[in-house]
Amino acid sequence: MFKKILIANRGEIAVRVIRACHELGIAAVAVYSDVDRAALHVRKADEAYPIGAPAASESYLNIQKILDVAARSGADAIHPGYGFLSENAKFAKACADAGVKFIGPNAAAMDAMGSKTRARKAMERAGVPLVPGTSRGLESFEQAEEVAARIGYPVMLKAAAGGGGKGMRLVHALEELTSALEGARSEAERSFGDREVYIEKAIVNPRHIEMQVLADEHGNTVYLGERECSLQRRHQKVVEEAPSPVVDPDMRRRMGEVAVRVAQAAGYTNAGTVEFLVDQAAGDQQKNFYFLEMNTRLQVEHPVTELVTGLDLVHLQIRIAAGERLPFTQSEVAIRGHAIECRIYAEDPDNNYFPRPGKITLLLAPSGPGIRLDGGMYEGWTVPMDYDPLLAKLIGYGTDRDQAIGRLTRALNEYFVGGIKTNISLFRRILSDPDFRAAKIDTGFLDRLLQQKRAEAPTDPKTIEVVAIAAGIFAIMGSAAAGAGERSAANDSSNSKPTAPSNWKSAARKEATR
């Protein structure tokens, strides 16, 4: 087993991995950019090394700097988390060359899955169901026209090197094809430096369901059940759950076996996720699912799988990387209960979910039965503007989906993040939506929900009374007055308000400076 692991990441996932290291008796090494000195992952680590400027290219994406820290600290393995260098085959290879174990698949497997057209070709050979379309880049407009006519409109044009919705175009009819192809190509060129674009049948409002796989370095591969990830905005997942309400044991087995075949075809090791599109138009009985892509990393939403399988994926990643065999077989994997995750972002719901970093002045975290909170923030910390605005993941677990929703709703009402804007209110809306409660969800759900005008509920006069009286009490007592549980009446109002500005004083100052 490893003695010391370097975590090449920041935020909640770095904290998550540090915790796993400590649980296994392994020392954890953090790296941090100039704006992350005060970050939670630095506080939790056993050793911490600065790696440069805030721009990720200067720090968290800088392979040489991270390998230098690995050498200086004597770390024998590197966990990349998700994002940053986690799916960078060059990094995996550089780690191997430097004699440090990369906790993830090898560079060859990552490469095989990195290009979508290459992955498609490999999967076609392995007999994996694919969305009808081409497995190689389009050579001409005529070819695009011919393929589109064969598979039928609507079609989707996609960048071979793509991701995050870039270089993608939905085409409803032949007339739109020329301009869409040009647009997709130039966007692909700009975003990825690669003009290659391929064509697929567009599946309208599909479900996005993914299968967790785990492979050791001795040829054993298992699947750990699916996650429903249909709730997305701008191609980013917002809510994930396990199991999917539409997947029955038979479909789970079929999808799982395909996912294992995908992993084995790529020579995959460690934790990975195979993404599928599920066509709902085919009717309830026989749902078609198609291979979309494989993510060669630990996913943000891995906790929902952990809760319903009772496994710790980060522990298993570390054990597998250390050469251990999978400690269980496929038949021993059982799904029990239901888990739902909300991704808490620093963004402003009143301003089109624009990121809003800043200082967290008050943080009240939920707890209690069935609640797991994986966070990377703390009260008094200033969220930097330089990175993804994910602050924390709140996960609710229950015997069934209804109980998980009930617990999560209760926890969201306990959760308070003051000083910055967060999307917590969005989850209250989603969780109370009748379609969500009935599990009628697809990738268009969130856009439709956000377009609905919110019915302005009239404010209860009692609430206004509470607010007015509380405002007066806060004004008298000041924010810094009194310790926990102290009776307000015990404080002397004459000396208890260092931070609440006296209106008398501020008015006098304004008058004096006129």
């Binding site: 301003n351 624009f354 990121p355 809003r356 970093p357 800043g358 002045t361 008050l362 009240l364 930097p384 503007m385 330089d386 990175y387 993804d388 605005p389 969201l412 009402n413 308070f416 003051g418 000083g419 917590i424 209110s425 404010t459 009692k462 609430t463 206004i464 009374e465 509470v466 607010v467 007015a468 009286i469 509380a470 405002a471 007066g472 009490i473 806060f474 004004a475 008298i476 007592m477 924010s479 810094a480 007055a481 009194a482 310790g483 926990a484 549980g485 102290e486 009776r487 307000s488 009446a489 015990a490 109002s493 931070t499 500005p501 209106n503 008398w504 501020s506 008015a507 304004k510 008058e511």
Partner: protein, 164 residues
């Protein structure tokens, strides 16, 4: 103490006093039975009669926002004996500052000094976390000054422009 309290634009008169560990409270001339414990800074446990509430206080750049359950309210507390009301009234007619709502980078300046702008017109674009946000003019008027250039890094609260 007597306060004028504005909640989301509506005014209330609150009389609040403490004696012998008890609050006495009148809201708009009506007596209310109040028991309050400050659980920790900015978190108040409040009982009105037998009903219990938890109220959270958020202070950002001089503005106060109170939260009851999941509902937030913009609150202003004034002492009617102070002159603040008058000072604020003057503020609305004078020059208004456009400030950065968050730390970020100025990616575009949409107007020039001396331009006439309508209320709500875009003045600058600030980028943070790879997303762009338009800073709009709070009033109809003339751009008196632009204090930042394209590419400048700004902190929350920095003055970006002044509209007269």
């Amino acid at each position: 103490m007597t306060y004028d309290i504005t909640i989301d634009g509506k005014n209330y008169r609150l009389e609040l006093n403490r004696a012998d560990g008890r609050w006495s409270c009148r809201l708009d001339g009506r007596d209310v039975e109040v028991d309050a414990v400050l659980a920790r800074p900015d978190v108040l446990s409040l009982r009105l009669g037998d009903q219990a509430f938890e109220v959270k206080c958020e202070r950002v750049a001089g503005d106060m926002r109170l939260w009851v359950a999941s509902a937030g309210f913009a609150v202003e507390v004034r002492d009617p004996r102070s002159l603040r009301g008058r000072v604020r009234a003057v503020d609305d007619h004078g020059p208004r500052k456009l400030t950065a709502p968050m730390p970020g980078k100025i990616v575009r300046v949409l107007v020039s000094q001396g331009d006439e702008v309508e209320a709500g017109a875009g003045v600058l674009v600030v980028e943070a976390m790879k997303m762009q946000n338009e800073i709009k003019s709070p009033k109809k008027g003339t751009i008196q000054k632009i204090l930042v250039g394209e590419g400048a890094a700004v902190n929350a609260g920095d003055v970006l422009a002044i509209v007269e």
